[in-house]
Amino acid sequence: MRHSALLFFALVLCAGQDAPPPAQARPAPAARLAAGLIHEFQTKVEAYAVVHREAEKQVGPLKPGSTAARIGRHQRELAKAIRRLRRNAAQGDIFTPRIAAEIRSLTGTAVSGPRGARVEKSLRRAEPVQFHVVVNRSYPSGTPLQSVPPTLLLYLPELQSELEYRIVGDTLILRDTAANLVVDFMRQAIPGV
């Protein structure tokens, strides 16, 4: 017979006040990218978002409160429509060599500065994943999405809502969240990883 431990808490909190934490330094990471490169990167990301929206028009929006079947169907159809619209997409379309070099510089700063040890530890503890990354291919089903350390996100340029950064080994991926697609990637994105 197996037993479950059951723990109840009557939470009557009378918590003491602590001294306020030291203010966190907030770098302005995007500002560190050369202005021209920011513009170039954001133009490319926006161009992708336009493609995504066009694909979504074709398959219809996914509404909150959907069934699992509807979610799965929408994800597959959206990915198919995006692949059709970007059939010639290749690695480096968004992360051009110049942009990639600048991003490496930013991530290098994030992991080598005063926050470096924290970021490295966070990466190690985030259940790292490995797979062969290919543009326009789905992020493999069943593979965890390694969490991205908040400090890295602080240093990386902002993305359109359709996209997110993800890490696979030493590779930084641009992932379409709704379509579960690898949009672009750059290797050796994080020094020391």
């Binding site: 939470l11 006040q17 909150p64």
Partner: protein, 247 residues
């Protein structure tokens, strides 16, 4: 010292006992027998259950679910917080059925609501899944009675989410503030440990905004930590599998 207008909140936490041997494939879950409850189940208190790392579809998940049904007769919780890793592996309709709808069938039929947060094994697309009550959002807030709840996406703590958290917490005035998300800020477990970078980023906000309780999963164990800076931290990631010898 802070005090609250609220008398108490009932919080259930369910976990397999540490001494339980691990389940083997094909093993059936055992029906849960009633256990004595010692909980101040005040009539008007906010009552809820918490599960973490639940979505294995394996017998331990079913056993915990059976316990929840059993305990609900004595402690009528109306909703459940999910601390991430809600659906392990694939995300096909069959996965949602086997790893969520079947185990919690009785609770769902009984009108119990589930409020999910995202773990590293979850696809953020889960936020559109009706029974998870996320309204298509990766992070969101809601309230019951005099408690404000904040579900965060700790796999992707973007500057936008951090700004949202600060603002939402500053507007919460109901009395209790409870945050829940997947990655623990503190943990003594060996498999993953605490996420120091995440802690550094959001703990100052949690402290400044006087959050009372933080619930996390990720580690497949149960931990109740000594309050840190006035915040009560719990790690509960054993609702679908216990990882023996992790502490």
């Amino acid at each position: 010292m802070r005090s609250f207008k609220v008398a108490l909140v009932g919080l259930i936490i369910l976990a397999p006992q540490l001494c339980s041997p691990p389940f083997r494939a094909g093993e059936q879950a055992v029906d849960a027998a009633p256990v004595e409850l010692r909980l101040p189940g005040k009539k008007d208190s906010v009552k809820f259950a918490v599960i973490g790392d639940s979505g294995t579809g394996r017998p331990p998940q079913f056993e915990i679910a059976a316990r929840m049904v059993s305990f609900r007769q004595q402690f009528p919780f109306t909703f459940v917080l999910m601390l991430g890793d809600n659906i392990y592996g694939g995300h096909s309709p069959e996965d949602f059925r086997r790893k969520f709808e079947e185990p919690y069938q009785s609770l769902l039929a009984g009108g119990v609501k589930f409020y999910a947060s995202l773990g590293n094994h979850d696809d953020p697309i889960e936020s559109f899944y009706k029974p998870f009550h996320m309204d298509g959002k990766r992070y969101y807030s809601f309230h019951y009675g005099n408690v404000d709840f904040f579900a965060l996406d700790s796999t992707y703590m973007s500057p936008e989410q951090v700004a949202w958290l600060r603002q939402e917490l500053s507007h919460a005035q109901r009395g209790w503030k409870i945050c829940y998300f997947h990655h623990p800020l503190y943990s003594d477990a060996k498999f993953h440990g605490a996420d120091i970078d995440l802690r550094n980023r959001i703990e100052p906000i949690l402290r400044d905004q006087k959050v009372d309780v933080v619930l996390s999963g990720h580690e497949h164990v149960y931990e109740r930590l000594a309050p840190q800076h006035g915040i009560h931290y719990f790690v509960l990631g054993d609702s679908g599998e216990l990882r023996p010898h992790d502490l």
